[in-house]
């Protein structure tokens, strides 16, 4: 993953005098966390280890960042972990499935992030699964949380992650015959150039690269 970002929206060498073109920001990706995680996170991890003997094998890493717990799970183990979390740890709701695209992160380009809520215990954790771009398959969690149906369709539509076992994995936002997946970083913004009284404004995708 890139460690620093230059400029804003990728603006560089454009004659931009706002100062954003010279901006350099370090983007620290959160590393793995060690115990104690703090708050109820230790309790959640203990309960999960107790209820799920293969915990060490299923978890790639645990990240606690900004007071939020994220468990990175191997995709082969996702459904098992999700069932344990739902039935034993009372995470009754999946609030959504987010997609993330990291083009520089080879073999882990596409991530799916599940935001879980326990209504019983008033707890929130996150599951994250990463897959390579060439093999974007993740087992579907519709059988575990029925509400994931449309969420997974949206993530498929925007990022092209294929959720195996989904009852009807079709596009949900874009037209059915659409080409490509718009939220990927390498997807061009599109748009048209505008010409008025001799002044020409190029299409947005030519103006800035929109990182």
């Amino acid at each position: 993953m890139s460690d620093e970002q230059h400029g804003m929206f990728g603006a560089a060498g454009t004659g931009d005098t706002s100062g954003y073109g010279g901006l350099v920001r370090a983007t620290a990706s959160a590393g793995s966390s060690q115990r104690p995680f703090g708050g109820y996170f230790d309790q959640v991890a203990d309960d999960l280890e107790r209820a799920y003997p293969d915990f060490a094998d299923a978890i790639e890493r645990v990240v606690v960042d900004r007071g939020e717990l994220t468990l990175h799970i191997k995709r082969e183990r996702l459904v098992e972990v999700a069932l344990i979390l739902r039935d034993k740890l009372k995470f009754e709701m999946s609030m959504g499935v987010s997609g993330v695209h990291y083009p520089e992160d080879s073999n882990r380009e596409l991530h799916a992030v599940y935001h879980l809520l326990s209504v019983t215990n008033n707890q929130r954790i996150r599951l994250e699964v990463s897959v390579p771009d060439v093999d974007p398959h993740i087992p579907s969690l519709v059988e575990v949380w029925a509400g994931s149906n449309w969420n997974e369709r949206e993530t498929f539509d925007m990022f092209g992650i294929i959720f195996d076992g989904h009852p009807g994995l079709t596009r949900i936002l874009m037209p059915d015959d659409w080409q490509g997946h718009p939220q990927r970083k390498d997807y061009a913004l599109g748009g048209i150039g505008v010409e008025y009284k001799g002044a020409v404004t190029p299409p947005p995708s030519d103006r800035r690269s929109y990182k």
Binding site: M174, P175, I192, E195, Y196, K197, G198, A199
Partner: protein, 191 residues
């Protein structure tokens, strides 16, 4: 309502309570006072459209407060918001289902030209899909502006010609449009 044609003496002999006019004028008068808008709210402009229909701005003054959910019962489509490529065929179908004569207001910058959404997902002006009678600028336009557009549309409908007269007007407008200098050939100040 009085006819503008030269008097031929008939008006002098009419009993009281009788008014003479042309069929065109009468039809225009009836149509402009009986517009039924279809609900086509797509984004934030729809909020302003709803405000225009509610008590404070009171579209009922023009007899237009009832927005019909069925295109069969409507003859004015107010496209309020940005139209995505996926919505475009739906919009066209709703328009086709409306009974003629029918009119379209492109409400706001997005419906008129794509507005701030110059990207892969949004139709760059709803006139790519349906013929537009009034372009209403603003982001979003205030209810007063929507009502101004509606009143201008009323005037337009009132003056609308029928039959051969209408064909003649359409030809004249077309000829004027062809003779006009296209905007990409216009030079100079951007005003």
């Amino acid at each position: 309502m009085a006819s503008r044609r030269p008097r031929v003496g008939l008006e002098e002999k009419l009993p009281s309570g009788i008014v003479l006019t042309s069929v065109e004028k009468l039809a225009g008068y009836m149509r402009k006072n009986s517009l039924w808008p279809a609900t086509f709210g797509l984004a934030c402009c729809a909020i302003e459209m709803m405000a225009a229909g509610a008590g404070r701005y009171d579209l009922a003054r023009f007899g237009m407060e009832v927005f019909r959910a069925s295109p069969r019962q409507a003859d004015l489509m107010i496209v309020a918001g940005r139209v995505s490529n996926k919505m475009a065929p739906v919009l066209r179908q709703i328009y086709d289902q409306m009974a003629a004569p029918k009119w379209v207001i492109a409400m706001g910058a997005c419906a008129s030209s794509g507005g701030m959404f110059n990207n892969y997902a949004i139709v760059q002006g709803v006139d790519h899909v349906v013929p537009v009678d009034i372009y209403l600028p603003g982001c979003p336009p205030r209810p007063e502006m929507l009502m101004d557009a509606i009143l201008k549309l009323h005037d337009q409908i009132y003056d609308e010609k029928l039959g051969p007269n209408r064909e003649k007007v359409i030809k004249e407008v077309e000829a004027a449009a062809m003779a006009a200098v296209p905007t990409h050939q216009l030079k100079g100040l951007l005003a």
